[in-house]
Symmetry: C2
Subunit: 338 residues, 2 copies
């Protein structure tokens, strides 16, 4: 009983990023400087377009992972700063190309770059940022880091193509979906964390532990993202709800609702997601069906599972402020669903 009162009485106890952001604040400032500096180009459209996205208030979650992982591993140098910028460049390039692929009009509540400057510029500036990421890695000079991030980039592209192939395919199973999000999202989380151990020259066991933390955190993060796309919480945050639905994107909420649904419901899912024949009421009906089958709450439960694995992966590291903050980050990624 006392516990219930506590939780309800103290909203501020909700997991948040404050501690993590405070810990990496100086490093993150340096990362932002590298980003702004390396976004430069005599071709004015490049910093304009890239800056639109880079400055649009993303959480910088992936570079923060590199920064916090490196410091948790006791790293005292500065190599993690430009490498964290590389991670953000790769992420930004992916977002630019994603928005072209999805024909998105909005990104982080603002007009997306492709909506402002056209698909063509978004494709090419994405290519530039991707190349720039490799230039920054080359300046670092470590083949091991280059291997981690070139491998990650190839896997991300494979994941994006896989996702394209599952779009509109209601026969997609949970295992296939998991494969997609592991590749398109978790791989970069994992690489970002692993680089922390690499620059700190920690033993393979710690590198593997950070890889596992990043992978599982990334999966949990994407699962919650997919829940949020159908949730009132998303609407509260000023973001649009139902983008995935309108694009015929298959995610765990749709997979669970489809698999648990009766024949009439499956007909609904096929019409809306496969045939892309949608009316104004369909999104509300989709959410009703998901709620009926606990598709959203069970997706959150799946996310909790991966979150638990992520937390345990950090078990081998000695307790320090960074570790505590990375543990709380797991809770934050999951609890943001509420």
């Amino acid at each position: 009983m006392a516990l219930v009162v506590d939780l309800e009485g103290e909203r501020q106890k909700k997991p948040n990023l404050d501690k993590l952001q405070a810990l990496v604040a100086d490093d993150l400032k340096a990362v932002n400087e590298v980003i702004v500096q390396r976004m430069e180009s005599p071709v004015a459209l490049i910093p304009q377009l890239a800056g639109h996205l880079v400055a649009s208030g993303g959480k910088r979650l992936r570079p923060i992972l590199t920064l916090a992982s490196a410091r948790m591993c006791g790293y005292q140098g500065n190599r993690h700063i430009p490498l964290a910028a590389c991670v953000e460049f790769i992420h930004t390039a992916t977002l630019l190309h994603d928005d072209v692929v999805d024909e998105s009009e909005l990104r982080r509540g603002q007009a997306s770059a492709n909506a402002v400057w056209g698909n063509q510029a978004s494709v090419l500036v994405g290519d530039f940022l991707f190349s720039r990421a490799f230039q920054v890695m080359v300046a670092d000079g470590a083949i091991k880091v280059l291997k981690i991030l070139s491998d990650a980039s190839a896997v991300i592209a494979e994941g994006e193509v896989m996702q394209l192939m599952t779009t509109g395919d209601t026969a997609t199973g949970e295992a296939n979906y998991l494969e997609v999000i592991t590749a398109k999202t978790a791989e970069l989380f994992a690489a970002a964390c692993r680089i922390g151990a690499v620059v700190a020259e920690r033993p393979k066991a710690e590198e593997d532990a950070l890889l596992s933390y990043g992978t599982n955190l990334g999966i949990a993060f994407q699962l919650i993202d997919d829940v949020l796309d159908y949730s009132a919480k998303q609407a509260e945050l000023g973001k649009t709800v139902g983008d995935d639905f309108r694009e015929g994107k298959i995610s765990l909420p749709t997979i669970l609702a489809f698999n648990r649904g009766n024949e009439a419901e499956r007909t609904f899912w096929r019409r809306t997601l496969e045939d892309m024949d949608q009316t104004d009421d369909d999104l509300a009906h989709a959410i009703t069906l998901m709620t009926k089958h606990h598709a959203l709450s069970d997706t959150v439960d799946r996310a909790r599972h991966y979150g638990a694995v992520a937390r345990d992966a950090l078990g081998i590291f000695p307790d320090n402020a960074q570790k505590q903050a990375l543990l709380e980050l797991v809770d934050f990624c999951i609890e943001r669903a509420y």
Copy 2:
């Protein structure tokens, strides 16, 4: 007089790629094996789409430059094989993204990948090939090569963005156009050649000479490409004429015709290229104006200039079969206009 008879009587004396292709035949076979092998992915669409372009009968000019340059430098090893494949992967990724940007329906006389599989898949498979190129470079392990090709990739992307910004802008000058083609085309030619000297561990002077050869060859190549887009020769080869015109692309032929034209002619160029208001007769009229002002033949003359510089750049290398073939390649790139 005798010379004229000779030239007219012996058509087979036209410069061609036979000697070069014969010299690199074994190496090129090995490159093609690497390409097919490294195009593989568990995601079936990737090798399908990439294979469509890779197998569609490109001349493999860029990887051939790496192969011939390395051998001209006396290189006896095998590193140039996978690195030539990297060069082709970067080129192929660029073509895939170009076709999305240009909304092209055709590429090398076949349906373009974006026309068959959609823009989305072309963007993502381009990203995959680009990442794969870096993975192959990382396996080679030389930071110097990684630097050359990551720098080249960033410059190419800048060139493509610059080109996008000049599209439809009849005020574009010759210097600006030269900057665009140096970045978007010549940079990769230069990198491909330079890598030959790098793997052969030749002194900087030879690296620089190959860089100059590649840059100038690339500029000449692109100038002729831009001439061919308006020429009867292109039609003879079964390729479409006027793609650049229909896309409002500014190239040296349009720049010369515009600058040398009277006010009525400039109004024509502004209507067709800036306002993109074109009728069926406009392409023929554009070619008439270009012919009137020697815009096409003078562009070929400009190409000859860069070709001459390219040839002289090879002067420091001892005579051997590869050098002769690379010299003849310059003539081939220019004479294909006729």
